[in-house]
């Protein structure tokens, strides 16, 4: 019962913060078109990369070009939802800690990680990627064999699961901000996470497969949901992804709280 009340309170808070952030973003309309242009540029380069590869080969890890488009599109879509929920906050964490403004997140009556996430939820930061991602997914979905509309709800559900994994990864990596002074490299690491998610999981073998499943689960994040739409659904992978999400989130919250503890003991 208490969990439910807590959840609804945070949903309400999210709504408030989202409204404020949207108002904030409306002020910077000029930035928006630039960000949109950049997003489209980089997503296109992504597609160009694979297009060039596919002029040389038929399949990559067994995935055809259309299937890969669903994969790449899903990554873009996930990144936009991430920016709508938590991503930008982590990017600001380094600054907050250095200027001492993070302290106000420790004194407010809400969880610090939620406060950090909600403070910077953004619709426009990655909107271009999200829209293009959707387009790519739609295009790929229209062209693959074994495409089935009834798979879409499961696709969306696993997308949310992937967000949980991504969030947990961000949480763990960004906890290091409380230990290090420079945080720029951490953001690069998180960027690499989604960057490597663009490739089908089937390219990995042996040690690499284990590493990119259990240590840095980027191979699951896009492959599992995309596989559902691309006619490559794998039940065992779905179960694995769910398990990893639960484990990662638990670990992430533990490490985050431990790092906060360190911050409160060591910082001046």
């Amino acid at each position: 019962m208490r969990v439910w009340r807590s959840l609804s309170r945070y949903l309400g808070l999210y709504r408030s913060f989202l409204a404020h952030n949207l108002k904030n973003e409306m002020i910077y309309r000029a930035n928006f078109s630039i960000a949109l242009g950049m997003d489209i540029f980089f997503m296109s380069m992504n597609v160009v990369f694979f297009a060039i590869l596919y002029t040389n080969v038929e399949t990559i890890g067994g995935w055809t070009y259309d299937q890969t488009l669903i994969l790449v599109g899903s990554v873009g879509f996930i990144r936009e939802i991430a920016y709508l929920t938590f991503r930008q906050g982590f990017l600001e964490l380094g600054d907050y800690v250095r200027t001492g403004r993070f302290d106000s997140m420790l004194t407010a009556p809400m969880a610090a990680n939620a406060h950090l996430a909600f403070r910077h939820v953004s619709l426009t930061e990655s909107l271009g990627e999200g829209l293009m991602g959707l387009l790519l997914v739609a295009y790929g979905f229209a062209h693959v064999h074994d495409a089935a509309w009834r798979n879409i709800p499961l696709y969306l559900f696993m997308l949310i699961n992937s967000l949980v994994i991504y969030y947990a990864f961000c949480l763990i990596v960004n906890s290091a901000v409380f230990w290090l002074v420079k945080s720029q490299e951490l953001n690069t690491l998180v960027y690499y996470f989604m960057d490597t998610a663009r490739y089908p999981r089937d390219i990995y073998r042996g040690f690499g497969k284990a590493f990119f499943t259990f240590v840095i689960p980027s191979s699951l994040v896009a492959t599992v949901p995309a596989g559902i739409l691309a006619g490559r659904m794998d039940g065992s992978l779905i179960v694995l992804a769910l398990g990893i999400a639960a484990a990662a989130l638990t670990a992430g919250l533990l490490i985050w709280n431990w790092s906060l503890h360190h911050y409160s003991s060591a910082s001046s």
Partner: protein
């Protein structure tokens, strides 16, 4: 039942020293010499509800560290503290809803939006009843004369106006305890005055317990009934402001205005003379000697006006920081 109780609170920070030069940097890759900084040492005090207490101390004395511990931002190295019955660093939500902290020059308001937006967001975060919120906001706005500022984006406000809004944002949930860390720092004289009078008025009206830190004498002089002086992490004085002078200063100031120029050398010989010219003179006289010296001066010199004053509190504080206590 005191609202704030602190017992033997300690905070020691560990940093490291870097050896100079490239060799030092390479060595630093593997091992660095730790340096311990005792920011707060065995601090104990208690504060009752409704008090307006000031913490005075030079930069680096430990004031901010202390405030951070009382607001739950930092864990102490050892010792105990209770605010409103809670242990601050446990960060109980119930505690967080009952206090507020404002740190000078650290903006909490959203930069590009008007303050009214930040206020509304705080209402949601602190779960303030909307009707109560409207009432409180209206009260603050009239107290601080902010009506015309509510819809101006924060980045267009002056420093003084921003500080006022920060205070409002902090008080909208009617906290029982208010921590203020250097609230007037960087402000112009008029803004400082307005902030001070507001704090005083608010404390009087609401009986909110206020803990204020500053290194400006005027903040403390005007506002605080009781002050605690901190130096090098220790509390060196805890009591009313007036008694501060008595404890640390053994003399008073005598100021003289002459009716006509005094005879040459009359004052030069006196070791108590601080300054003198044809029209005025200032002397520092030991408290025990004041009556006698006054009679002496009135007898010998063409005096138009004579006054006996307390030493400036600034001077008192400087003496404290130099740790000169008079043995009476």
């Amino acid at each position: 039942m005191p609202v704030i109780e602190v017992r033997e609170l300690n905070k020691t920070f560990k940093t490291h020293r870097k050896e100079p030069g490239l060799v030092g940097s390479l060595k630093g890759l593997f091992w660095r010499e730790p340096v311990f900084n005792e920011a707060v040492k065995s601090v104990s005090f208690s504060i009752e509800e409704g008090e307006l207490v000031g913490f005075l101390g030079p930069n680096g004395a430990g004031k901010t560290t202390l405030l951070k511990m009382l607001s739950g931002i930092l864990y102490p190295s050892s010792g105990e503290a209770r605010v409103l019955g809670f242990v601050p660093w446990e960060r109980d939500r119930a505690y967080q809803r009952q206090f507020a902290i404002v740190m000078g020059q650290k903006n909490q308001l959203w930069w590009d939006l008007p303050p009214s937006e930040s206020f509304a967001l705080n209402r949601d975060i602190y779960q303030v009843d909307p009707a109560a919120f409207d009432r409180t906001l209206a009260e603050m706005v009239s107290l601080l004369d902010l009506k015309h500022l509510l819809d101006v984006p924060v980045r267009h406000l002056s420093l003084g106006e921003r500080m006022k809004c920060e205070l409002v944002a902090a008080l909208l949930h009617q906290p029982r305890v208010l921590f203020l860390d250097e609230p007037t720092i960087g402000l112009d004289v008029i803004s400082q005055e307005r902030i001070r009078s507001f704090i005083q008025e608010y404390n009087r009206l609401k009986r909110t317990t206020v803990l204020l830190t500053s290194h400006y004498m005027r903040d403390v002089e005007e506002l605080c009934q009781r002050i605690l002086v901190i130096n090098h992490g220790r509390i060196v004085y805890n009591g009313p402001l007036q008694e501060l002078a008595n404890r640390y200063v053994d003399h008073k100031i005598i100021k003289i205005r002459f009716s006509c120029a005094p005879a040459e050398g009359m004052l030069a010989g006196l070791e108590e003379t601080v300054e003198s010219d044809a029209h005025h003179a200032v002397l520092k006289v030991k408290k025990k000697e004041v009556a006698r010296r006054t009679r002496w001066l009135l007898d010998r010199l063409p005096i138009d006006d004579l006054s006996v004053e307390e030493v400036e509190v600034d001077e008192v504080i400087r003496r404290i920081f130099e740790e000169r206590v008079i043995q009476e």
